[in-house]
Symmetry: C2
Subunit: 339 residues, 2 copies
DNA sequence: TAACCGTACTATAACGTTTTAGCGGTTATA
DNA sequence: TATAACCGCTAAAACGTTATAGTACGGTTA
């Protein structure tokens, strides 16, 4: 049940394995293999449906044509869609993807890096967790191309593709203000990672620019590791505890989803009783009644950038870090229009 | 920048690579390596953080500790969630996952099988496309364990994990009947794969059992490759063309999602004007107002079964095919209650 | 005619591991 | 006293590639 190897072809063609390797790697000209022999080898390889054993090739060349994709949660719509784009794009270059979810847990992330490392992946696309900078730096030091996504470490040089979180949050908040909402809360995560900081900053600055004084009581930070019940309870508690609240900005898509659920179970009317905007788009937001206003990430563009940067680095490593910040799109829907 | 190899350890310990290999593979006793040497090797390996090169190991043993996961669309909630479960479960056995999406396109699926094959994955979890049986049989013949999911080929023996589509559809339809709906349509796919046939059969049989005559005009089959516009247009056309329609059963989650969108754009009230049940659960169904009744698949259970069957076959191949049919759960929500 | 050159290949080593066969020495068995 | 068995370990081959160095041979140059 073994596959066809280069030796089988060599035997049938009456040449050495070396010659076969040269021909099949397109080095026939360079290595002065005659057209005759070259053609013959091609033909036999075709007939036998020869496919090089990637393990052997990887062992010899050190290149596995595999990239490691580390996301927060592959079951999450945002990351799943991204995984699809990455799969598609990588395929164009002949690369395959090994994936893993961190659950935003640094230990899990370290474990994933470790596994991918000794599986010799050529490069990484990583949604980093909190304290992963040391490990990432080490990997970079070892010459492995890494492109970060969704977030990055401001103090550490790296390639990354992110969105303009600050501007997105600013635009979303500004939109609420323009619609006449004035006591606007934000529900975000306890994470102190850059993308969440930027979103909070955008929210704050938009309020200030509108002459609205910011208020710590309107900022709710929730930990990552609650279950559905936990999120709903916390959000309900927060929303009801805050007098005069008339709008809320959810800083991630899952918070938005829990938020909607919470608001509805309170019996409030989205739009009229409380304006709602969420970060990230989602089928749910589009189909909900009323549909939910959001700042959407350009998923395909993110994926394309990630892979293209990685491929560039794989082929000719540079010293300059490629850092892409993509714009977000405010998609206005009824959830923020009925003040 | 090379990693630590068995040779490095051997050198430091003053023994041969063979001895190191024996010790590190837990064969110290069996190969009569002294405790002294054994301990020393362990210690050095630990200190150097030795991790075996999986490529080399794979080349030698023929086992890559990698499984190939072929789904219809990794961006789809159902498959993404499943991918997560598979990742989790496989990890417990030390396996990693290479994934790929077929888009339900047989040619893409064949390509994926090909790639995974020459990447020497040890086993496969596959959501098969229409004419993939030949390729799958061939792979089985080559001794590669394969577990099918979501659907299977009735005429071809194989391991599989599916849900009881017939009963699920039957229960859903029966539920609508009991709620007083009587002119019940089904929107399904043109696919003639077994899972869709079973669902249609369940729908038909439930109607017959209730003494309702079935009617071809109430069955709408849509192709897979429409875009969002296309689905919405087709569904709207169908729903409006059918006089007296009072309920509809959507046979997949994406059809359910498009269905909701279509019904709403027609201005109809879900529940009162038209009862709705969908196959598969989804956050959208839970959060929609009114929330949508559905038959939910036990995702974790499916994933666990898939991986555990695969692992069993990987360790000791049997000749008996393991075929698991899991029950579906009817989750009753307001969309089917207001006749 | 010896030195050199170009052509068309090939032998060999190496990547890091696992596995098989075996080695030199001591001890037990017939 | 010959030999079989055991002990603790190692040499070498193999997995399928690719890269380096080299070879044999005919032709050209000086």
């Amino acid at each position: 049940m073994k596959g066809i190897s280069i030796k089988d072809i060599a035997k049938q063609a009456g040449v050495s394995p070396t010659t076969v390797s040269f021909v099949l790697n397109g080095k026939a000209k360079e290595k002065r293999i005659s057209d005759q022999v070259s053609k013959k080898i091609q033909k036999i390889a075709g007939k036998l449906k020869y496919k090089p054993n990637q393990l052997a090739r990887g062992l010899r060349t050190g290149k596995t044509k595999t990239i490691g994709l580390i996301v927060e949660d592959i079951a999450n719509n945002f990351f799943a869609t991204l995984a699809k784009v990455v799969e598609d794009e990588a395929d164009k270059y002949g690369y395959k993807v090994l994936y893993g979810s961190t659950e935003d847990n640094t230990e899990k992330a370290k474990g994933l890096l470790e596994v991918l490392k000794y599986r010799q992946v050529d490069g990484y696309i990583i949604t980093p967790t909190k304290n992963l900078d040391k490990e990432i730096e080490q990997l970079q030091g070892a010459g492995k191309p890494i492109v970060l996504m969704d977030r990055y470490f401001p103090q550490m040089p790296s390639h990354y593709v992110v969105v303009d979180n600050y501007k997105g949050a600013y635009t979303a908040t500004e939109h609420l203000v323009k619609q006449g909402y004035s006591k606007i809360a934000i529900v975000t995560t306890t994470s102190d990672q850059v993308q969440m900081k930027d979103r909070l900053q955008g929210y704050n600055d938009a309020l200030k620019a509108a002459g609205i004084t910011t208020n710590k009581a309107l900022v709710k930070k929730l930990p990552f590791d609650l279950d559905r019940e936990g999120f709903n309870n916390e959000i309900k508690k927060f929303l009801t505890a805050t007098k005069g609240l008339d709008a809320v900005f959810f800083a991630t898509n899952y918070l938005g989803i829990y938020g909607i659920e919470s608001i509805r179970s309170l019996g409030w009317t989205i739009g009229a009783d409380i304006g709602v905007v969420s970060f990230d788009d989602h089928d749910i937001f589009r189909l909900h009644s009323p549909a939910i206003t959001c700042v959407a990430q350009p998923l395909r563009e993110i994926g394309e950038n990630l892979v293209s940067i990685l491929m560039k680095e794989l082929n000719q490593p540079t010293t300059t870090m490629q850092q892409v910040v993509l714009p977000l799109e405010l998609i206005i829907r009824p959830s923020s229009l009925h003040k």
